[in-house]
Symmetry: C2
Subunit: 338 residues, 2 copies
Amino acid sequence: MVAALQKEMLAAIEEELHHQVERLDHSPFQPYHEMLTYHMGWTVEGASANTSGKRTRPLMLLLCAACGKQPYDWHRALPAAAAIELIHNFTLIHDDIQDNSETRRNRLTVWKKWGVPMGINAGDGLFSIANLAIMDLDRDHNQATILKVNRLLQETCLQLTGGQFMDMSFESQDVVPLDSYWSMISLKTANLISTATEIGAILSGEPDALIMNYKQFGHYLGLAFQIKDDILGIWGTESMTGKSISSDLVSGKKTLPILYGLQKKGLFYNRWVKGQIKSEEVPLLAEQLSKEGAKVNALEAFDKVNEMTKEQLRFISPEGPAGMALHDLVSQLEERVA
Amino acid sequence: MVAALQKEMLAAIEEELHHQVERLDHSPFQPYHEMLTYHMGWTVEGASANTSGKRTRPLMLLLCAACGKQPYDWHRALPAAAAIELIHNFTLIHDDIQDNSETRRNRLTVWKKWGVPMGINAGDGLFSIANLAIMDLDRDHNQATILKVNRLLQETCLQLTGGQFMDMSFESQDVVPLDSYWSMISLKTANLISTATEIGAILSGEPDALIMNYKQFGHYLGLAFQIKDDILGIWGTESMTGKSISSDLVSGKKTLPILYGLQKKGLFYNRWVKGQIKSEEVPLLAEQLSKEGAKVNALEAFDKVNEMTKEQLRFISPEGPAGMALHDLVSQLEERVA
């Protein structure tokens, strides 16, 4: 029943996304439209079920809209779910340019395929479509709710650019304090998830006090996702065997364990400041970082935010199959860590 | 009285813009905030009264809001005026990256000063601030009006990206039909001006039929601005003396007279296809283009859209000092052409 609901929601999200992006599916914009459908994972070479991303954010929004005490048909929230996913994808297109990333989900990035100028424009277009998608809540919600949700979404977008600014600034900073790192991932990563869970609760008519719990639930869940990513980015199976060149040690990304290691100013720090790390160095350096306490520190951080996620979920006490799905998602998060 | 009103409006626009951009004026975003205030022409080296742009779009919005038969205090429309100007500036920041332009108003462009990644982010940030600014209409308008105006603004933003897509596509096309050129400048240039005049009329409560006249007025005015720019870009005084390297002949921009000349497949065409034009060639080539009929054609096009602008203004028959200011603006447009 839980799996069936998730499957139904994911299909409905995909349909709504197609519907929104179709705004550009007419002459003379077809080649432009194709850049967007390519990025969304639907068309052009290499498109498959694995090229679309997991649609985690819109799924969270719908589950939060469907698990409350008030009866609420989650289909009504689809325009907001689509808007959240479109915003996420707009930031991915621009991020890929900013990070100089040539591939995403095993395909060329938009800028790599069509050039930086078209890539910037494609991101701007998805942002605009997202801003129109959220207005489609007027199919089924009152004006005060739409304005409230839109303002929240736009505030989140501005904060995302603030998080991105911090993240890009870190690259040229020798010392990044750990609390700056937490601020950055709160703004850049957890933000859109907490806005998704908050919007779900607003749309379904949950009381204000409880809406804050939904928001906090999304916030801690987003932080937990990020810290798990940070841990797997260094001590994930591939990294340990040195097979992967996608280790955060090689890319030089300043994640939580790396910042912890840099603060220690030990052997890890000495190697890091000497220049880019080669993939054959990864197993030994990952072990060194672990010896210096970075892994224990990251695992403790994960446990802490994971506990807070579960605490907020207890406050919410979500009901029905959507509630069970939320519990399942949180349980899955704990898997494969450590 | 007209000059006093315009001066008062321009000061109020600048104040509202400051107020909106101040959303980022706090730690840890100060360096990010400075990128935006630099681009807006307020801060950092070279900032002066001439670095801010003319604020034509927000001024048109306020004048259209103030010239109707219903009494309406134009100060109420300031959040919309700011939103329009912020959207315009977001597109300028991204355009400068896309066109590889190193200077704007005699200062380095944002990307040239802070790098492409920060430039992309600064544009995204201004877009987000614009989307929040428009929501501030709730100080003084009902919810239905705000939703209507926001949807119009977002549709315009999507069309702007469509126009930008066309413009960028032209660069790699040997043959650009003239009607594609008109579509492109309608979407990219006239669009935001017609949305400005339309929003002015919506906010002041003009009847629906008349709102369409305001929209058309802005549309033709925007086209007239662009065609005038196209003419001056080749036969403006500087270009004729060959002193300026900013001639459209040198930059290779496919403007109306150039597309007309290319269609003729004469001497101008033969030179154009051989590669970039040097500034010392400009006087002779401008004359050649004129001989082939491109100047007469562009002047006729200008007269046509200028006539249509004035026709729409007669339908509107704007009143009071704001009405006089609109008439003055249209008269100024006719100066220096030909």
